[in-house]
Amino acid sequence: MSLLYDEGQQAIATESRRVLDARSDKARLLGLIEQTGVIDTAWWDTAREQGWTALAAPEEHGGLGLGLVELGLVAQAAGAATAGAPFLTAGYGVTRALLAAESSDTTAHWLAALASGEATGAVAFAEQQAPLPQRPLVRFAGGKLNGTKHGVVGGAKADIALVLALSDEGPCLVLAELAAMTPPAIASYDPARCSADLTFADTPATLLLNGPGVGAAALDIMAAMAVVTAHEQVGGAEALMGIARDYALTRKAFGQPIGAFQSIKHRIAELYGLIEIARANAIDAASKDGTPAFFRAAAAARLSATEAYDTAARDCVQIHGGIGVTWETGLHLHMRRARSLAVEQGNMLWWEDRLVTDLDGGLE
């Protein structure tokens, strides 16, 4: 599959970047992180208006029938803008599960609602420190869910959640409506994520998938979301590299721009290396969706993009010196986002481990 963007894909990249550049407002984003339980509605309205929610949904469900490559490009633009509202990635995860399930009125309804952006989705796989528990503690029996999912991204605001639960037959994927629940948003270091612990108490849910394939299906959804996230991380890292470069060109010390000192210029050049490796992995993974090589490519994208964004956040602030740690300058928006994206969809430790399990003779 091609690793080159075609004209349509290039247009998506340029347009999403242009729209977000025009509507980005650092003051609004800074305001968001002083509150808990508030999402960036302006961003979500933009996403709906631009059709980003529909990008990767099938045409028969009101989508545009495109895929991970296109969604990744929008995520990259969102990452550069530290855009709020985490539903683009999670909504896509839910969509994948709905498509993998036997089709019904319920699946059709939610697929259309997610594509239009009318409804928002969250993915609730993790429990305690396990991003993808093999034997979930949350139980599904008699059409009802019981138990707690921790730190569900967007969980405080989403309309539906895709939940990995344990039934009598083993792990299963179910869809729960969250309308009746009012989970409090967690006051985290990145409150715009609106993460929440979802505690189910005889909550009605619809079975989407069960049987021996559930583990692989959940892993595939996780990998797909990781690829979207990797694009978002690349966008954030690239934005930081640009900020660092511009600052190094204008800020002077000891009679010259600080960018003329190798300690600074090499730091930025190293970022370039990390970002280009992550970008190449992200594009490669997106192009391999649906092939047997997808998981390894997604893992490579996830690992390199996390390293790139974390390093860029660290180094960009360092290059700025004192001004970099002020609230106003806002580099901490990226610092916070870099860390949230690093722990959502499975952290580095989990991905390293799963990748090596795969390299050491395949997944169980």
Partner: protein, 401 residues
């Protein structure tokens, strides 16, 4: 099947067919001289089979195919351990420059054919004791002498000079102008009187590089390949000829699979190393990094196939791959511990961790040091300022030593 695919298949089939005669196993235990002789026979066979000068014009003895075909063949060839190292520089840089800048075309054509068949070898005499990264600081002098020139000086790190018939060289013809402006490009007969080649034994035990002394070596003006004072431009052309070459995300060290194999066998505190988090982390990080470099290369190939100019990120391969190979080799040696200390100085860097480790520094220095590459990325790609250069614009002979 595309033409490129067909060519790749044909190349692979030919390589398979000659591997028993020339490949890794056939070379095991050979002296350098015997290996070079085998290499010359391999290069001749390659020429006869139509795989030499793949992307060169047919009038110069080449195959008239594209850059992609050449990279495809080189990448396949890399897997067989063929004795082609002696000709890499010769055919990679001096010969293409000769084709382009040689004044006597008939003579140049004879040389090109002889080099393509492995009969003659050319070296590139750039670096000096006073300048590696700073090429324009070179001190070898060429002074007018009758109708020609007389050259005196010393070159360093010249690969394969001891087996070379000819070389291309940059010398200073005017020390009264700033350093870049006083240089001129020549070719030189490596067997001429006054040329003295002395091999340098490297840390890994091999001696493929040399120091070369020139003592009043006579050059005719026909040997000049640039206008007087414009040699630096030609030298840069030389370095730009092959921007996209067949790369190796393993940095010419062992593949990651070999490390996984080792981790499966090794133990840490009586527990399997493959279950140790530090080892798993190293495997995963290296895998991700190499996958990224490979994706960069594949994307560049696709761009070239589509008639587009690949992006500058191709320059990352050498920087990133070699230094991570160095660290991974150290970790592999840690895993082995004292259980197998026997060292084979002739082992391949692609299959032996200790050899890979011992030779890795060369890869981080030759052909642009890590630091020089970082400067290039910062300045040429990211638009950051040049380093402070106190010798800028000052006549060469007034630069404080």
């Amino acid at each position: 099947m595309s033409d490129l695919e067909a060519f790749r298949t044909r190349g692979h089939a030919w390589l398979e067919s000659v591997a028993p005669t020339f490949g890794r196993d056939a070379r095991t235990g050979l002296s350098v001289e015997d290996d070079l002789a085998l290499g010359r026979r391999y290069q001749a066979a390659k020429f006869d089979a139509g795989f030499a000068g793949i992307n060169w014009p047919t009038e110069w003895g080449g195959q008239g195919l594209g850059h992609l075909e050449k990279i495809a063949f080189d990448a396949a060839e890399m897997n067989f351990g063929m004795p082609n190292g002696y000709f890499g520089i010769s055919l990679g840089m001096p010969i293409p420059v000769l084709m382009r800048f040689g004044s006597d075309k008939a003579w140049a054509k004879e040389r090109v054919l002889a080099a393509l068949k492995g009969e003659e070898i050319w070296c590139q005499l750039f670096s000096e004791p006073s300048g590696g990264s700073d090429l324009a600081a070179l001190r070898t002098r060429a002074e007018p002498d009758g109708n020609g020139w007389k050259m005196t000086g010393q070159k360093l790190w010249t690969s394969w000079a001891q087996y070379s018939d000819y070389g291309v060289i940059v010398a200073r013809t005017d020390p009264t102008v700033p350093k870049h402006k006083g240089l001129t490009y020549f070719w030189v007969d490596m067997k001429a009187p006054g040329v003295d080649v002395r091999p340098i034994k490297l840390a890994g035990g091999d001696s493929h590089v040399n120091e070369v002394f020139f003592d009043d070596v006579k050059l005719t003006d026909d040997q000049r390949m640039s206008p007087v004072g414009e040699g630096f431009g030609v030298a840069l052309t030389t370095l730009m000829i092959e921007r996209y070459v067949a790369t190796d995300s393993a940095g010419f060290g062992p593949p990651i699979e070999l490390f996984v194999d080792l981790a499966r066998e090794a133990e840490i505190n009586e527990r399997p190393a493959i279950e140790d988090g530090r080892i798993r982390s190293a495997i995963a990080r290296n895998y991700a990094m190499r996958a990224g470099l490979e994706a960069i290369t594949r994307r560049a190939m696709m761009m070239m196939e589509a008639g587009m100019q690949p992006g500058p990120e191709g320059s990352l391969n050498k920087l990133v791959a070699v230094r991570s190979r160095q660290k991974l080799s150290e970790l592999a040696m840690d895993l082995v511990g004292t259980s197998d200390l026997a060292f084979d100085p002739h082992a391949s860097t692609k299959s032996d961790w200790a050899t890979s480790w011992l030779n890795a520094p060369t890869g981080r220095i030759a052909g642009g040091s890590d630091e020089t590459l970082l400067n290039t990325i910062a300045e040429k790609i990211l638009g950051l300022p040049q380093d402070h250069r106190p010798d800028k614009g000052i006549p060469f002979n007034q630069i404080p030593a």
